[in-house]
């Protein structure tokens, strides 16, 4: 996957930088806004972010890479997060993880060849009463068994 940005994406990023640069503690909301609009935080725009906030590029890099949520590369059309935390482990999430990995043919932090799904681990989705839990983009699922995950995956591949 190429890390090239279209000019409309660059414009969009510039809009977000301008919109957020005067907030107190602006960097986090700015990074969220950029990732929300183009799907990741491209390294190519670190200098623009740094300049707007009077930071060094290294500081921007430091913040982006500290947080698991921020990505520096494009992801697939959908992001599937599987909860790895204790409550889900108590209800068989390990099996779920390995079956998803083999069904998709990828490991965590990877994207399927057709570009439809990126797989990410997550440590608690707050759905611990109905473990195991997964989240597809912003859609939460509970008591996920092999049948349910197969449905979720096949829907994600079509949509």
């Amino acid at each position: 996957m190429l890390n090239t940005l279209t000019s409309s994406q660059l414009d969009e990023i510039q809009v977000q930088i301008e919109a957020h640069k005067n907030l107190p503690g602006a960097l986090m909301p700015m990074l969220h806004a950029i990732q929300d609009s183009v799907g990741y935080v491209p390294e190519a725009v670190y200098p623009q972010i740094a300049k707007a906030l009077a930071l060094s590029v290294a500081e921007v890099h430091g913040v982006v890479t500290f947080y698991h949520h921020f990505r520096t590369h494009p992801v697939g059309k959908h992001v599937l997060q599987i909860c790895r935390a204790e409550s889900c482990q108590a209800m068989g999430s390990e099996q779920l993880e390995s079956s998803v990995k083999s069904a998709l043919g990828i490991d965590y932090h990877e994207t399927t060849k057709d570009g439809s799904i990126t797989l990410e681990p997550v440590y608690c989705l707050g759905n611990c009463a109905c473990s195991p839990a997964v989240m597809l983009d912003e859609e939460l699922y509970g008591r996920v068994d092999s049948q349910k995950i197969a449905q979720i995956i096949s829907q994600a591949r079509i949509a």
Binding site: M28, Q89, A90, C128, A129
Partner: protein, 519 residues
Amino acid sequence: MSNVVIKVYVPRDSTALSLGADRTAHAIVAEAQKRGLEIALVRNGSRGLFWLEPLVEVATPLGRVAYAPVQAQDVPDLFETDFLNALSDKAKAHPLYLGLTEELTWLKRQQRLTFARVGITDPVSLDDYIAHDGYKGLKHALSLNGADIVKIVSDSGLRGRGGAAFPTGIKWNTVLNAPATQKYVVCNADEGDSGTYSDRMIMEDDPFVLIEGMTIAGIAVGATQGYIYLRSEYPHALKVLNEAIAKAYQVGYLGDNIAGSGQSFHLEVRRAAGAYVCGEETSLLESLEGKRGLVRFKPPLPAIEGLFGKPTIVNNVISLATIPIILDKGAQYYADYGMGRSRGTLPIQLAGNLKQTGLIELAFGVTLRELLYDFGAGSATGKPIRAVQVGGPLGAYLPESQFDTPLDYEAFSQIWAVLGHGGIVAFDETVNMAKMARYAFEFCAIESCGKCTPCRIGSTRGVELMDKITAGQERTQHIQVLRDLSDTMLNGSLCALGGMTPYPVLSAINHFPEDFGVS
């Protein structure tokens, strides 16, 4: 009944949504339309009987009647058996009929103070909030001076529900007495502990109570700006909070003239970004300032030098959401619940391998056994419960012999365990405790902020040691090294992440040595 529009409640809480509540709601609306029946659909919060979601309620003159779990495909059959006329014999005979919601044992046995409205009201309806005693606490607070408000909070005995159990009133008093032109109230909504979801429920199911609690905090200490630092894993909570905040601004419950008092309080949600360590208050403040979430040295305390160097209250969602009822009903009312130095109630969250999971708010003092078996009805798999982790990933694993411990901060600390945020995760006999100990180190290694050596390096050495132990290499010696390492992490880490990782690890070795190949 023909002219009465019947209210039907389908929860919008994300656990209910994760089990199909939206599809159920759509099916109910469609089926009613098809049959020419007029209903008023309310998307309420969850009652917290999560094993029964989606739990649908129908209003009757005697109170709300519950049917659960209702999937979309059950809906035509429900209408066929007259479910809108929930007091009829026909409706009562339906297999999903549970009777009056308020009479359900799970709810009847609880003492809901912080969660008084949760599941009952429409979370984003300010009218509903006010009709159910909302903003009474603020009204009382506005008639008092800051010191009086802080005294009420102190007298209630409320301790931080985020994990450290520090008395909330003392924290507030420090901020009150810190001279500054700008002060802040920060809500720690970075609920990252596995097995916990009470913060999420408050934010999704009764957001105004958090807004009211933060407003009271601001007025008490003279802070005019509040931030809710919310986990990025909670997209539903983000939407609900933003909607509720916008409504509160519209009618003057937030802004520059709160409820006509001339006092200011502004509130904004800031999204976290998936770093567990940012649940630690100083790391959270760094993150809010737009930096890496590195833990700060203390002192200075955040109450003296917090956000942007200014005096700051940092409280957990549950602590802040409990403030309105304390201000409304008085310190003594709240303090009358509980045991010893643990006053009031604790929202307990049952999770993991249990038949009946969900939220239980009870006065301190209930035992784990009552929670696991009376409320939880034993394991979901039907196998014996072997271990229970209380208080999140940094909490100790407790064996069956400790199930009679009452939920009380001091009782837990006596058995070298923590109550934390009240999350309880049950494991059946298939759990391998050596694997759980390894996972505790692995989690710490992934989430360590890297500032202090015991946590940054110790966590990785811990994973390596666990691999050697499970592979049977010089077991006795390596377990000794593991104990030494744990001692270093316990005493040498800068914050609870490194400092408490030894809790799950050592409790696993001490209570379940057979899983480590020793006796």
